[in-house]
Amino acid sequence: MSTLSLAVRDSSTMLRRNLLHARRYPSLTLNLLLTPVMLLLLFVYIFGDVMSAGIGDGGADRSEYIAYIVPGILMMTIGSTVIGAAVSVATDMNEGIIARFRTMAIHRGSVFIGHVVGSVLQVLASLVLVGAVGVAIGFRSTDATFIEWLAAFGLLALFSLALTWIAVGMGMASPNAEAAGNMAMPLILLPLISSAFIPADTMPGWFRPIAEYQPFTPAIETLRGLLLGTEIGYNGWLAVAWCLGLAALGYWWSASQFNRDAK
């Protein structure tokens, strides 16, 4: 069997295993979904009046704030649900079955490729759920073309892939599930200091560069541009560069940890 078909076959076996886990024990993913949904409802319905006054030229209403926040919440959903990948990888690495996989003549990368693909599928399912909540409370995409929808979907998938690889690396670097959860915490905190909830140019001057160039802001701004027709500018390229860089880094980090001797 060629290396590629071996990789595909073993990875899809591992994917089936991970999806089986996710289907039997969905509570982890569902818990992680709560945070973005709660924040969405909190910011729209509790803080909504104040928040909407702060965007645009003041005087914006709540529906404009919903349009502003939903792309950010979608990106936050990715950051939040990939924590599940870090936790399940860390749990898995402590299981004896991983030692068994290492002694088998299977494709070396299949273990974590299965995790990554499984996690991306879970993230995409989560995005559909959170997106549905967004639509239910009144989010509407204004005049996005089919191509723009496609690009938006592609961006979400690419960002999911990138963060998942990072989360898998974190999971491998953690001694146990708790440590993995802690290590992956920045993935859910970073959106709070991005342009997800308030425009970056309303933040203190010294902090603005941090908010503007961290991975979430370019991705959120690009998604906004695609769905709402706002200015994308350099954010598009920056977002893609972040995604590719993070994915490559996460892949390299995971692979080098997996190929090290067993603990």
Binding site: D10, R16, R17, H21, G96, R100, T103, M104, A262
Partner: protein
Amino acid sequence: MTDPAIAANGLRKSYGDKVVLDGIDLVVPEGTIFSLLGPNGAGKTTAVNILSTLVSPDPASGAIRVGGHDLGADPQAVRAAIGVTGQFSAVDGLITGEENMLLMADLHHLPKKEGRRTAAELLDRFDLTEAARKPASTYSGGMKRRLDIAMTLVGSPRIIFLDEPTTGLDPRSRHNMWQIIRELVTDGVTVFLTTQYLEEADQLADRIAVLNNGRIAAEGSAEELKRLIPGGHVRLRFTDPHTYRSAAAALHDTARDDEALALQIPSDGSQRELRSILDRLDTAGIEADELTVHTPDLDDVFFALTGSTAVPSQTADQVHQTKENVR
């Protein structure tokens, strides 16, 4: 076929300053059971981890071949030849026993139908059919271990590593496991077994290597190892000092224990030697109150070789010399 299943020269491994394996040589012929016997921390698991490609040996190690393949140059070929059941259960607790088996079948690239058949056969053989649809995390220790071995057998490996396969099992499960291991070799499979139980090595292994502090302290069949230890004897105990003294006079070559009124006669425990002792006692009209035959078992070997304080140091020295001769 002349290639041994496992051949390792000067296997070394250290973690920092701590030397775990200090140059051990292992040769395991095909179709035999080899047992690596040693106390906790002797390096047994490290040896298994290295031979099963989990851990890389130190560069200073000599050539290591498993299943005829060089361990360092072609680890995937080694992996294709081996099956490993580690010390800690290597089953996926979140899915059922049957799903675990099918997972293995898929990873061995068995066609769907054959995979299902193999899984069902092995589950049946290991008495797990009833529990097949329950999550493996709900299994008892013995069941988990059986599932573990069943999973190892899915790809019909020619060489099987079993790292302490019966540790933590109750006596009945242990005997079941022994039976399973015996059946494995009847199919020509080579088994590399580690254990801290001497009885287990004695029961199963064709050859035993005693590992202590990262070195092979002795190697041979159970019989050969037992012969390393002097100390097979017949012990006679008396309650009457007078009888004791006349017995001592009637039998030569005895070690006297005047305190306990006991005599020790060196003996291999054979029927012939026992009869001659009894004959001499009969002739002298002496009846002992208690007669025990002590044959050296692997426990004696083990304690002597691994330098336990329970064995007089003199014995340990003797063993050391004998061992050198044997090797």
